[in-house]
Symmetry: C2
Subunit: 692 residues, 2 copies
Amino acid sequence: MTSLGDKGEGHRETTALLGNEDEGSVQTQTKVLNQGSWTQVSCPCCVSEQVEPLVLIQLSDNIQPVTKRWLISLIEVSERDGGAALLAHPGEDECGDVIVVSAPRCTLLRATEDLGLCKKYHNGDMVAFSYNDRDNFSNVDDMQEFLTLAERQYIVKYELDFLRAQKEQKIPGVPESQGVLKARENICQKLEKVGVIKDIFPLHDKQRLTDLCRNWYSGKQIWGQPLDSIQAYFGGTMGFYFSFLDFYTWALVPPAILGLVLTFLLPGGGSGGGVVKEQAGVMEGVVEVDDSPSVSGHMVQAVFSMLWSTLVMEFWKRRSSSLSHHWGLLHLAERFAEPRPGFHGTLGINPVTGRLEPLFPEWQRQLRVGLVSVPLVGFFLGMVVLGMTGFYHGEALAQGFHQESGSLFSGALLYLPSVAHIIYTNMLGNVYRTVAMQLTEWENHREESSFQNHHTTKVLLFTFFNYFAVLFHIAFYKQDLPLLRKRLASLLIVTQLVNQCTEVVVPFIVDRFFSAPQKKQQEDDPNVDKLRAQRSLPTFPGLFAEYIELLVQFGYLSLFSCVYPLTAVLLLLNNVTEIRADAYKICKLFRKPFSAPVSNIGVWQTAFEVLGFLSVMSNCWLLLLSPRVREFCLEGGISGRNIILFAILVEHVLILVKMILAFMIPDEPDWVRIKREQIEFHSMQALGQQKL
Amino acid sequence: MTSLGDKGEGHRETTALLGNEDEGSVQTQTKVLNQGSWTQVSCPCCVSEQVEPLVLIQLSDNIQPVTKRWLISLIEVSERDGGAALLAHPGEDECGDVIVVSAPRCTLLRATEDLGLCKKYHNGDMVAFSYNDRDNFSNVDDMQEFLTLAERQYIVKYELDFLRAQKEQKIPGVPESQGVLKARENICQKLEKVGVIKDIFPLHDKQRLTDLCRNWYSGKQIWGQPLDSIQAYFGGTMGFYFSFLDFYTWALVPPAILGLVLTFLLPGGGSGGGVVKEQAGVMEGVVEVDDSPSVSGHMVQAVFSMLWSTLVMEFWKRRSSSLSHHWGLLHLAERFAEPRPGFHGTLGINPVTGRLEPLFPEWQRQLRVGLVSVPLVGFFLGMVVLGMTGFYHGEALAQGFHQESGSLFSGALLYLPSVAHIIYTNMLGNVYRTVAMQLTEWENHREESSFQNHHTTKVLLFTFFNYFAVLFHIAFYKQDLPLLRKRLASLLIVTQLVNQCTEVVVPFIVDRFFSAPQKKQQEDDPNVDKLRAQRSLPTFPGLFAEYIELLVQFGYLSLFSCVYPLTAVLLLLNNVTEIRADAYKICKLFRKPFSAPVSNIGVWQTAFEVLGFLSVMSNCWLLLLSPRVREFCLEGGISGRNIILFAILVEHVLILVKMILAFMIPDEPDWVRIKREQIEFHSMQALGQQKL
C-alpha cells in the first residue's frame, strides 16, 4: 500500500490547510485534503469554498494512473454523460491508491428527491423533498444542516452504484482479457470484480464522532441515548437498531419486576413454596423435580408474557412510525427509484415510472421463492434436526459403550458426539450462509430492502432453529421441565458472560493497550492523514448478529420464562451494558458502515411478532407439563384428556385475545396518521390539478 | 295519497311528450314527465333537451305547497348558496306528493371527482376523474355513457344528503314547534324526522331493466351473469354481491366433485365402507354409530377443505381487485369527502383536508368500540348460550317429568322448552338488532363504509352464533358425531327447501297471479305515470340476508363437511337457482335501492376468512372424535393423550400452511398492482411539480 501523508507535496498542502479549521466549528478534522485538488463543479450554485470528503474509494495497490484518471473523470462528469456528477479528489497524489469522493449541492438535492426523503418545509411540516420546490425547504442552502452526514454519504454511494457504461468500452489500464465493459454494465461492480476497487466506505468525521461518543456512552448519559444524533451520524438502519434496543430494554422492566416479585416476595403464596428452593437448586446444580413455580404463579406468568409481548410489539410499531416521521423516512420512494445494483433482467420500459431499466416479472420471482427457496430452507432446517437426532443417538450409544467397557478410551469417546455435532453444526452453518446469500441473489429482488428482508429471513430462521432446537427438544419431546430450567439458566448466564467478554472487555483491552501506541503516534503528528487509521479498521459486520441476539433473548424470555422467572432481570442487566458496548464498538472498532434510509426495522418486526405467537403456544404447553398442574389435576380428579383440552382452549382464547389486542391498538399514533393522510390528500389534489 | 296521472294537466303533458320516446333508444319510459317543468340550470354547459329523472322524493300526503316550493328551490340553487345544485320537477302538478330529481352535468362531474371515481382517460387507462382535466376523459359530454345509472342516482342522493341549513331558519309550512332548522343542521334528515319527506329512492329505468333481465335470468344465459350491466344498473355493492355469488358458486364445483367421489366411487376404499350406508342411514333417519367415513377419507376432506377455503378467498381477493379496477372503484376518496350524514362532533377544521366540518377524535371512537360495544356484544352472545343451556335443561326436565307422569298434559309440556326457546331467541334477536344499530350510531363513524362494516360485524357475529351454537354444542360439548351428521343433513335440506320457497316460488306466484291484474291495467293505459308502480313496491331490505346465507352455507361446508361429504353438491344445486332467484327479486319485487360505490365486499371478506381458520380447528376436532380414528388408535396401541397431541400438532401445522399460502398469493393481480403503482407514482410526481 502506498502510505499516506508521507508524500512531500500532499503533506505540505495538508498542513497549510489546517489553519482554516478553527473558522468553522462544523468543519471536520478529515478536511485535511488539498481543497484545490477537488474536481470542479459545472453548476454555479454548487461552488463552495470547502468541500467535505464523504466517501473513500480504496483502489488496488498497483492501480494504473490512467485507470484512476478515467475513474475520476467518470465520477466527475454529469449524469447526462453517464457520470455520477460527484466531486473526486485523488488523495495525496495522482498515484495514490485512494479516491476521496464528495457531492455537490445539486446532486445531493436531486438524490434526496429520488430517494423520497422528507425534509422540513418552511411551515415546519415534514414534506417529501421536491427539487423544483427546493426554495421552500428550510436550510436548503446549507447541505450540512439540510442532510445528515449519513444521508450525504449514502447519496454518494447511491450515485456510484448506478454508474453504468454508456456503450461497450475498454477500461483503461486493465488487461483487455477482463477489462471490457458491456453496454449498461454496472461499472463499480465490474471494477470490484476485476480488482480495481477494493472497497468503498464512508469516512468518519472525527469532531462529530467525538461529540457523539461523549453524549452516548462515555459521558454521564445513563438513562437515554442521543437517538437523533445516532441517526444523523450513522443513518437509518443504525438509528432504528439503537431505538429498538432502547425501547426493548425499557420494556424489560415490567417482566423483571414481576420476576422479582414471583421469586422473592411471593415464595410462600398459594402452593408456590418451591420457587426460592428452585433458584437455590439451579445455582447449586441440584434440581428437584417438584421445585416448579405454583400453578397460579405459572398462570400469571403465561398470561403476562402473552400480554407483554403483544403490547411491546404494538407500541414499538407506534414508536417506530413516529421516529420514521421525525427522521423524514416515512415516504421512501425505493419502489420508484433505480433497481438495486445486483438486479438484472431484460431491458425494457418500467410500466410504472416509464424509465428504461432491467425488468424481471414478479411472478417469476415468486415462483423462485416458493418452489426453490422455501423447500431448500426447509431441507437445511431438516438437516439441523437430523444433526440433533444424530447427536442424541450418538450420545446414548457412547454412554452405553462407556458403561459396558468403562475404559479410558470409552471415556474419551463420550466427548465424540458433542465434538462431531459442533463440527457438523458449524459446517452446516457455513454452507447455509453461502446458499442463503446465493439463493437471495438468484431470487433477483428489485429493491434493496426486499433483498435484505428475504436474506435476513433465511438466515434468521436457520439461526433461530439452531439456538432453540435443543430447548424445544427438551420441552416438547423429552418433556423434562427441570432439565429445561437448568439449561435455560446456564444458557442465560453463559451467553451473557460470553457476550460481555466479546463485546465489552476484549474491545476495551484492544483499544486501551494495543491501539494506544498508534494513537500516541497520531497525536505527535496530528496532521498525518487520518484516512490511514480508518483504512486499517475492519469492515462493520452488519446488524444481523445484534438483532439475533435480541431475538434469542426475547425467545428465552417469552417462550420459556415461566420456568425461570428471573430471566427478565438477567436480560435487563445485560442490555444496559449491551447498549454501551454496541455504541463503543460501532464508534471505535470498525469502519463506518453505509446505512440506507429505512422506515422501520423490517423483517425483525415480524420475527418478534411471530415469536409472540409461538410464546403463547409454548407457555400453554409448559403449563400443561408443570408437575404442579398435574398434582392439581390429580387432587381435583380431572382427567388428563380434559386438562389437555382445557389447555388447548386456553391457548386458542389467548391467541384470539392477542390478535384482537394487536388489531385494536393502531399501528401509528394519531398525529402520524393525520400527517400521512394530509400528504395523501395533497398528492391526490395535485394529481387532479396538474393536468390543467 | 294524491293519485298520479289522474290530474288533467299533468296527464295531458305526459301523453303529449310520449311521441319523443322513439327518437332516442336509450331514453327511458319514465321520461313521461313534462320536460318544461324542470327547474332551470344556471350553467350553460349543463343545458340539455332531455332531462333524465333519477330520484324520487316521496313527500307526505298533506304537504303544503309552500314547503314543496321551498324544498324545490333548495334542491335547485347552487352549492355556494347552500343548495344541492340539482334539477327538480314537481311531479304531475304543484300540489302532488312527489318531487322528481335529476342532476346537471357540472354537478355530476364535480361529485365524480369528490367520490374519487375512476373513469376512462383518453389513453384508455382508468384514471381518477379530475374536473379540471375533464376534457381528456372519454365520453365526458354524454353523462349517460360517462357515469352509470347507479352512479348518477347515487350522486343525487349524495348531494341531497349534504344539504345543510346555512343559518337558523324556519321550515315554511311546518308548525314552528318542530320546524326550526339549526345552523348547519342536515336538512333531509330533519325533514324525514318531521315527516315532510317519507322516502327518497332511485327510479327504475324500464328499458334498461328489461334488457338487463333478458341478459340475466329470463334469457338463455346459463353459465354467466352480465356483471358489468348489473354493476352499471344497480351499483357497486350489488355488483360485488353478484360477482361474489358467481365466483363462490363456481368454487363449489371442486368440493362437490370430491364429495361425489368420496361418497359413490370410493365407498369401499380403505376402511371407508360405511359411507354409502351412512347416506342411506341419514335418509331413513336411522343412524348407526360406526357409519362414519374412513380415516383417510376424513383426512383428505379436512386437508382439502383447508386448502380450498384458503384458495377461494385468496383468488376472490384477486378477482375483487380486478373488478374494482375495471369498474373504476379502486381509488375511492371517502376518507377525504364529507362525513356521512349521521356523523356529529364539534365543528372544526379537518386537519387533513382543511375543510370546516364536525370532528370527532379517533381515540374516543376506539374507546367506545373497545369498552362498550365489545362487552355488550359479548353479553348478548352470552345470552344466546344461556338460552341454549336453558333449553337443554328445560328439555331434560320436561322429559323427566313426562317419563314420570306420562299424562297428556306432560306430553304437551314436552313442547314447552322448544316454544320458549324460539320466543326467547326471537325477542333477543329483535332487541339485539336495535342495540346493534344504536351502538354503531353512537360509535359515530365518519365514513359510511366504516359504519356499515361495524354494524354488519355486530349483526353477523350474533346471527352466526345463533345459527351455529347448536351445531357447535353437538360437536364440541356432546361430542355426538352421528347426531351432528343428522342435524347437518336436515338443516341443509330444510334450509334449502325453505329458501327456494321464499325466494323463488312465492315471489313467482305473487308476480304471476296477484300482480297480473294491475299489470294488465297498466298495459291498457301505458301512459299512466309509471312512478306509481314503483312507489307501491316495498323497500329493498339490503344484502345482509343474502350474504349471511352464503356465509352460513360456507360454514356448513367448511366447518362440518367432513361428516357429510355431499354438502357441497347440495349447495351447488341451491346456488345455481339462488342466483336467478336473487336476480328476479331485486329486479321485480322491490324498489330500486341506492348503492354506494365500494371497492370490495367489505367485512364479509374477513368473515369468510375467519371461517376458514375456524374450519381448520373444527375439522381437526371432528377428526379426533371420529369413531374410525378411535378404532384406529386402539388397534395401533396409541394412547389417547398422544392422539390428542398429534391432532393439535396437525391443526397448528395446517394453520401455518394456510397462513403461508395466503401470504404467498398476492392479493391483486400483477396488472392491477402496476396500474395502482402508476397512479401512486404520478401523484407523487404531481405533488413535487405542483409547487413550481
